[in-house]
Every structure is written in C-alpha cells, then in structure tokens.
Amino acid sequence: MSVDQATVRRIAHLARIAVEEKEVEHLQGEINAILSFVEELSSVDVAGVEAMTSTMPMKLRMRADVVNDGHKAADIVANAPEREDNFFVVPKVVE
C-alpha cells in the first residue's frame, strides 16, 4: 500500500500537525518508504492468531474507590503557556 499526496494532507490534519505545501511530496516519499518496509508483514499467515494485548500475562488491578490524590490545581496549571487563575487559556471555541 502507498499513500498519495491528498492522504498525506489528511493524515497531517488528523495528527494536528501543520504541513506546508512544499513539504508534502517529501513526506509522501518518506511515509511510502516506511510502508514498503512493513509490506512484508502481509506475507505472514496470522489466521487464528490472537493479537497481543500485553507481553506479560497480567490482570489489571482494581484500586480502592477512594480519593487519594488531588487538590493541586495550581500545580497542574503551573506549566501552562497561558493561564488565568487556575484555568488554561485557549482561543474562543464556542461562539
């Protein structure tokens, strides 16, 4: 499988990465090089094989349903590039 330039633009938008028009062709070449490298996986017979979900057999642990952390809003916003009081500031999203 290989991607065309429209697909490169679509992937970039899905990934929320701005790509300049002049970069599209180069990116297409790189992505297709990687896709052709992984192409040989299609030759493997995977009928009846279960997809791996965890390398080590483990059951997800449950923890007690109690509040054991929190009340640190100031810490959480401390690294925000723009904040007001204990809020993150973003461009207006709702008209």
Binding site: M1, V3, T7, V8, I11, A12, H13, L14, A15, R16, I17, A18, V19, L27, E30, I31, A33, I34, L35, F37, V38, E39, E40, L41, S42, V44, V46, V49, E50, A51, M52, T53, S54, T55, M56, M58, L60, R61, R63, K72, D75, I76, A78, N79, A80, P81, E82, F88, V90, P91, K92, V93
Partner: protein, 492 residues
C-alpha cells in the same frame, strides 16, 4: 579524568563506606569532568548545586554509618525522566521550559537510596532515534574515535547521552530507557553495559511516554556489577503504573560471579543475517566459545519470526506514539504557537515543536490507526507480535536459559553518515534488539571487543521473563572472558 572518576560504581560505593574519600569530593570530581566535556554535548542540563547538596547530605549519613545502597554516588539521568523542579525536555522543543511538579518513580527510588543527580542527559527527541542525532539540543558525540581519524562518531540512541556520559566517566552510571534497543544499542556503541529489564520490572510512571507497551527503564554503567546495583534501586512495584509487576526485587549483585556451568544458551539461526559482516559473525562465535569455556551448554535454536519483528515494530511503536504524543497541544505545558482558532493553535504548535523524525512517526502512527487501515496494519502487527513471543516461549520451554546474539549489525558510525536519505536505513540498527521489546523480555549488552576500525562491539543476552539474575551471571562471565577495552585518551 581524575582518580575518583575512574572508579566503578561499586568501587566508589566501597570507597565511601571505608571513608577513603567523601561524597562531596567524589561529586566535585564528577562536576569538573562534566564541565570539561561539554564538547560531547552529553548533558542537556547540569545540576551541580543540587548534586553538592545531595552529596553533603550523604556525607552526613555516611559519617553516622547510615549509608543507603547508592549513598553519595553521582548519577546521570536521561532527560526522559521527570525530575521535580528540574526542566524535563525529552530533547524536544515542544517541552521547552517544562518543570515537572512531580518526580518519576524510578528517579525517586534512586534518591531514596542516596543517589546524587549530576544533571539531565541528552537523547534522541522523545527517544525516537538510533544515533542521538534527532535531539533538539544537538547530537551527542561519542568519546570514541576511529583509529587514525578525528571524525565525530555517534554514541547510538536513543540513550546516547547516557552511554556517552558513562563511557567518558562523566557519571558513575546513568538511567536510560529502551523501546526498541535504546539502552542496548548505545551501550554496544560505547563499550558500556546496558540492561533492558523485563516489561513491568521498572515503573514507567513519570517517564515521558513513547510506546507504552514497549517502553522500559534500565541502567547503563561501565560494568555488569554496576548495572546490577543500579537495577536493584530502579526496579520494584509501583501502584501508579498499571503494568508494573508486583514481585520482590532480588539483590541482583549476588548473581555476579555465580557459576554459569550447566546453563543452556540458545544460538538463534535467524540472527545470522544475509550479508552480516565477518567481524560481527566472528565476535558472536567468540562469545559462544567464552560461554562454553565457562561451562554453559550451547544449542542451536530457531526463532522463525525474527525477520518480522522490525517491520511490526514500525507499526506498533508509531501507533502508540501518535496516541501518547497527542497530549502536546500547546495548552497544558511547553511550547505554544498561537492561531486564529484552537485547531490552528494545535497544528502550528505541533509543527513548530516536533522535529522531523517525531513528526514522521506520529504521521505513520496516525495512518495505521486510521479508519480502514487499523486491521490491515495495527491488528496484524499485534498478531505477529504474539508469534514472535511464542517463538521465544518455545525455546525457553525446550530448556534454553538465555539466548546469545550480536547487539548491533555494525560498530558505531559517524555523524550524518546514516538515514539522511532513507529513514529505514537508520531503523535497521535495531534489528537484533527489537525482538526483545516486542516479547517483553529482559536483555543485556556487554562489550566484547573492538572492531577493526577501533570502535567497540557488544554481544546481547536475552533472558526469560524476570530472570535478570541469569543475565547478570552470564554477562559477568562474558565480561571476564572478553579482552578489556580501554577508552581512547581523552580528546575533549
């Protein structure tokens, strides 16, 4: 290099306990070495004041005879571990200025045990790379050079700063992380020892995530014993990481020097690649003889899906990365490029913040997870991963205790020499190491000799899950048998 920076971690520990020198003296010697070696670009941030404060505390404890396992020992920390109050960048522009308000579990355990932090070590951006050339802070230069050449050599990656700093005696040992070979390949390239523990052995909490089902923390140090000492402090159950495994941490150091007589070592035929250099093949055969001489039983084994591991990795790892790196949005931390609306803010921030390799992997990951391609790529790759793991399980079931392979297909290369035209050329560096991550197994790389060009070469041991002790015993046996390789005279 002073007498104090020449010591191994174990020798420094014993010297401190015997009061031959103080933690402050040891730390000052390392701080001076770090300052003198800036040409290597191994450290992104130096934290000498913090190191001296920790060393003073260590001296007080040592004076009272209350030294902890790593008391007063100067360490380097890969800048992928969050360190409270100290900028943590993952070598990316997108995390510029990020000062965590929390400490990763692994580093917290190092400080609990008395370790001293010299600073944060350079790496490939978000640990994506095999040469440390993708760092937003510039490449790390290996202290090693080819015979008769002053070309700058890569230390490997992604833990290139860790490997270079340990090799150049800029710390006694370092933390590192390994997603596809990022501890073991740089260890092989710099003549150091690196250990990637079993998945779940060390907590991932507070370590910047790359590919969560593959990432694992581990040490790089100058010998096998020092790695064992480091791992004992780094490992352990952490309720904050849901994939952390709740089982006791052994005293790994006790495994050093234990007999390997009667151990069964598997030699997988699929690792003998077409076109493999005579040098790598020769080193591998030599390693087999060293283990045989130490009393191990050598058997040929087959791991039929080996060839599929690297391509499957280049689906699974980017897929998980595209998901993990969605959090860098210009809102919560790090870089922000403003836009007319929120989507433009995201897109401009991420375009400015991520380097080319990271962008490439996010895009591949986004593609293989997108509607219509998920089954063809991601689910298929995860099925192949099951087959890779079954190959290993069959070998272990047949009585194999550990597997010996080359660590890398070549010695280190020069800066700019690989991957500029085709990213896949760089990816092939991990061909021998990536299987271990895909199956969640422990792996150890120890230096075993020098290539014809004068650069170090290593061999890899792969173990059964949670049997790191066997790897330490076998690694020490290899280390004993191999010729001692000395670092070239300091040129930096």
């Amino acid at each position: 290099m002073t007498e104090l920076t020449k010591l191994t971690l174990a020798a420094a520990r014993d010297g401190l306990r015997a009061r031959k020198f103080t933690a402050t003296e040891l730390t000052k010697a390392h701080i001076a070495a770090v300052e003198k070696a800036r040409a290597l670009n191994a450290y992104i941030a130096e934290t000498p004041e913090r190191a001296l404060a920790q060393a003073a505390d260590s001296d007080a404890r040592l004076a009272k005879g209350e030294g902890r396992p790593l008391e007063g020992l100067p360490l380097g920390i890969k800048d992928l571990y969050c360190t409270q109050g100290v900028e943590t960048t993952a070598a990316s522009r997108i995390l510029k200025g990020f000062k965590p308000h929390y400490e990763s579990t692994v580093t917290a355990q190092l400080w609990r045990d008395g370790g001293v932090m010299l600073g944060k070590l350079n790496l490939d951006e978000f640990a994506m790379g095999s040469s440390n050339e993708t760092s937003a802070f510039g490449p790390v230069v290996s202290p090693w050079r080819r015979k008769g050449s002053d070309a700058k050599i890569v230390p490997g990656g992604s833990s290139g700063g860790s490997a270079a700093a340990v090799a150049a005696h800029l710390c006694l040992a370092a933390t590192a992380t390994d997603t596809g070979g990022s501890i073991r390949q740089p260890a092989a390239f710099t003549g150091t020892v690196g250990v990637k523990p079993t998945y779940g052995r060390c907590s991932r909490w507070g370590v910047v995530a790359f590919a969560s089902s593959l990432d694992q923390a581990g040490p790089i140090a100058r010998d096998v014993r020092d790695c064992a000492i480091m791992l004992r402090s780094m490992a352990g159950f952490d309720p904050k990481d849901s994939t952390s495994v709740d089982r006791p941490v052994p005293d790994y150091e006790k495994a050093i020097g234990a007999s390997v007589s009667g151990k069964t070592i598997g030699i997988p035929r699929e690792y003998r690649l077409e076109g493999m250099s005579a040098e790598i093949d020769g080193l591998w055969k030599q390693g087999v003889e060293w283990l045989r001489d130490a009393g191990a039983k050598i058997v040929d084994i087959s791991l039929p899906h080996t060839r599929m591991a690297l391509p499957a990795y280049y689906i699974v790892a980017p897929a998980e990365a595209s998901s993990n790196l969605a959090r860098y949005d210009g809102v919560r931390y790090g870089l922000r490029e403003n836009g007319r609306d929120i989507v433009e803010l995201y897109e401009k921030t991420r375009a400015a913040g991520f380097g080319p390799e990271v962008r490439r992997r996010i895009m591949i990951g986004t593609y293989v997870l997108s509607a219509g391609y998920y089954d063809a790529y991601y689910v298929r790759a995860q099925k192949i991963r099951t087959l890779i793991k079954q190959d290993f399980e069959q070998a272990f079931h047949a009585g194999v205790d550990a597997i010996l392979t080359p660590a890398t297909p070549s010695p280190a290369f020069a800066l700019g020499e690989k991957g500029s035209a085709d990213p896949v050329e760089m990816y092939l560096n991990d061909v021998f190491t990536v299987t271990v991550n895909m199956a969640g197994l422990p792996g150890l790389v120890a230096p075993c000799g020098l290539a014809a060009d004068g650069l170090p070469l290593g061999l890899q041991l792969i173990g059964r899950p949670f049997e790191e002790e066997t790897l330490f015993s076998l690694g020490a046996a290899l280390e004993n048998a191999a010729p001692k390789i000395g670092l070239p005279k300091a040129w930096w």
